[in-house]
């Protein structure tokens, strides 16, 4: 499955910026000893795609400006609003991380951590019917 609306504003900008930051991630991976030549090819390819996207955005703006010139405020405002919104979302998430304590199973992280009880082997693990399924959304994280 895919989630969200691919190509849409904030998400599109987020992945564009993430792609532009790939060289930094690449350098970090190399510094940790992960030297895979496929990483280099991948970073170059994704950067080329990102540059093409930026060129497409610029071309769209240029064509629009040629067709219907807009006041400067209308050309700058969407950029400021989009970047501002993305920054606000990311900052809000970081603040949330600092304020909200991780659930116990996350604090005991590691191969031993079991988020749900293991299912038994053999026929005992018969499937629950729809009528007696426990729909416990909200239970795990206490919402």
């Amino acid at each position: 499955m895919t989630a969200g609306l691919p190509g849409t504003g904030i998400g599109g900008l987020f992945y564009l910026l993430a792609a532009l930051c790939l060289p930094l991630r690449f350098a970090w991976l190399r510094a940790r000893g992960q030297r895979d030549h496929r990483h280099r090819v991948f970073v170059i390819r994704q950067l080329a795609m990102s540059m093409s996207m930026l060129a497409a955005v610029w071309l769209t703006g240029a064509l629009w400006g040629f067709w219907r010139p807009l006041p400067k405020v209308l050309t700058v405002a969407p950029i400021v609003v989009t970047f501002g919104t993305l920054a606000a979302i990311l900052i809000a998430v970081e603040i949330g991380r600092l304020i909200i304590r991780p659930p116990p199973q996350l604090r005991a992280r590691g191969p031993q951590a079991q988020v749900r009880p293991p299912i038994p082997s053999g026929d005992a693990a018969g499937p629950p019917g729809l009528e007696d399924r426990l729909f416990d959304v909200g239970a795990e994280d206490g919402t």
């Binding site: 499955m1 895919t2 989630a3 969200g4 609306l5 691919p6 190509g7 849409t8 504003g9 904030i10 998400g11 599109g12 987020f14 992945y15 790939l22 991630r25 991948f42 994704q46 795609m49 093409s52 996207m53 060129a55 497409a56 955005v57 071309l59 769209t60 993305l86 990311l90 998430v93 949330g96 991380r97 991780p102 659930p103 199973q105 996350l106 992280r109 191969p111 079991q114 988020v115 749900r116 009880p117 293991p118 299912i119 082997s121 053999g122 693990a125 018969g126 499937p127 629950p128 019917g129 729809l130 399924r133 426990l134 729909f135 959304v137 909200g138 239970a139 795990e140 994280d141 919402t143």
Partner: protein
């Protein structure tokens, strides 16, 4: 490294993956999939590596799905009554899996001949609990299939590889993923508490400290909904499933680097971009009596176009991609209706979707 040693290294890697495949059980949940399940099983039997076992969970089909599967020499399990969801059906078989790896594949999905071999290579890293592959609609005839084709091209050539490079693919797609069996069982198998068991499982792996990988070279070809009747069911299930998982796991997600950002951005777009598409744009067009506002629906068309053309990978497919791009904008607008409805029902009204409706 000399060419001889490169060949030796490649041969060693290939034989070690063959050994991994010998420790692989494939689970195929199926409900009334008579028309497609034979292709799925044959594509597994035609893999470059030999799979130890294939288990079809015939979830009380009425069209003879189990008979078709049995005639192709695979194990067929039939629970006493319909399990009610794909996750529950898969758990029926998981209880009987004794191999090191488990793969789940939809009954309407075929694989490229080397897909399993390429996917299993990800498990050389002992911290990897799950790996998923590239998904591409098998048929691209209707507007819905074409829209999905472009959506997947965008997602699997741009978004998902980036997520993988940052170490956190958002979802290990349920239609084609492999898992380390002991980890899968330790995490409780596939949960039936949400409509998106693949999201739930992927995130639980992260919470337990494991890695999930996306392997772009491992190709799968599912049959996507070909009409609105089936697409509606799938979009509803996916939208509600995503929001249910956010509601269920949000505290834990906040403490997983990068995942928290991708989830927050996805949720924002699901809610706010949908409001923009469905409310703000039409309202502005009416208020200012200017139809140019409707261009907002396709404002990013050049970006989408350039991305999918780069992703199409060959002249042969350029025409098909160009012809499919308009369908993407139709699907995206329809998708925004379901996302907004899911956010409204699950988060505001607290009315969760409880019934799993098969999409196709």
């Amino acid at each position: 490294m000399t060419s001889a040693s490169l060949v030796d290294a490649a041969a060693a890697a290939s034989s070690s993956i063959a050994a991994l495949a010998g420790e692989l059980t494939v689970i195929i949940p199926a409900y009334n999939e008579r028309a497609s399940i034979a292709d799925t099983i044959r594509s597994l039997q035609a893999q470059t590596v030999t799979i130890k076992a294939v288990i079809v969970v015939d979830d009380c089909s009425t069209d003879g799905t189990g008979d078709v599967a049995r005639s192709l020499g695979v194990t067929v399990m039939r629970p006493p009554s319909n399990t009610g969801s794909k996750a529950a059906a898969q758990n029926v078989a998981l209880a009987h899996v004794d191999t090191m790896f488990t793969m789940a594949i939809d009954a309407d999905t075929t694989l490229a001949p080397d897909a399993v071999e390429r996917l299993l290579a990800a498990f050389h890293d002992p911290q990897v609990a799950a790996a998923c592959g590239f998904v591409e609609p098998r048929y691209r005839g209707s507007v819905w299939e074409r829209g999905r084709y472009i959506e997947y091209l965008l997602a699997f050539t741009f978004y998902k590889p980036i997520q993988d490079f940052y170490g956190k693919p958002l979802i290990s797609s349920g239609c084609f993923s492999a898992y380390r069996t002991d980890t899968l069982k330790a995490c409780g198998g596939w949960s039936t508490r949400t409509m998106a068991e693949d999201v739930d499982l992927t995130w639980r792996f992260y919470f337990a400290g494991y890695k999930v990988r996306f392997v772009a070279e491992a190709r799968s070809y599912p049959i996507e909904p070909h009409n609105f009747h089936f697409m509606r069911k799938q979009l509803k299930r996916w939208s509600h499933g995503m929001v249910q998982n956010v509601r269920l796991h949000w505290r834990s997600v906040l403490h997983v680097p990068y995942l928290r950002a991708t989830v927050a951005v996805a949720l924002w777009d699901a809610a706010m971009a949908s409001v923009g598409y469905l409310v703000v744009v039409p309202l502005l067009a009416v208020l200012f009596m200017n139809p140019l506002f409707f261009l907002a629906y396709v404002l990013d068309a050049p970006v989408v176009l350039i991305l999918v053309l780069l992703a199409s990978g060959g002249k042969r497919r350029v025409g098909e991609v160009l012809a499919s791009v308009p369908a993407f904008f139709v699907l995206r607008t329809v998708n925004s209706v379901f996302l907004l409805e899911a956010v409204w029902s699950e988060l505001i009204m607290r009315r969760p979707l409880l019934v799993y409706e098969k999409g196709h």
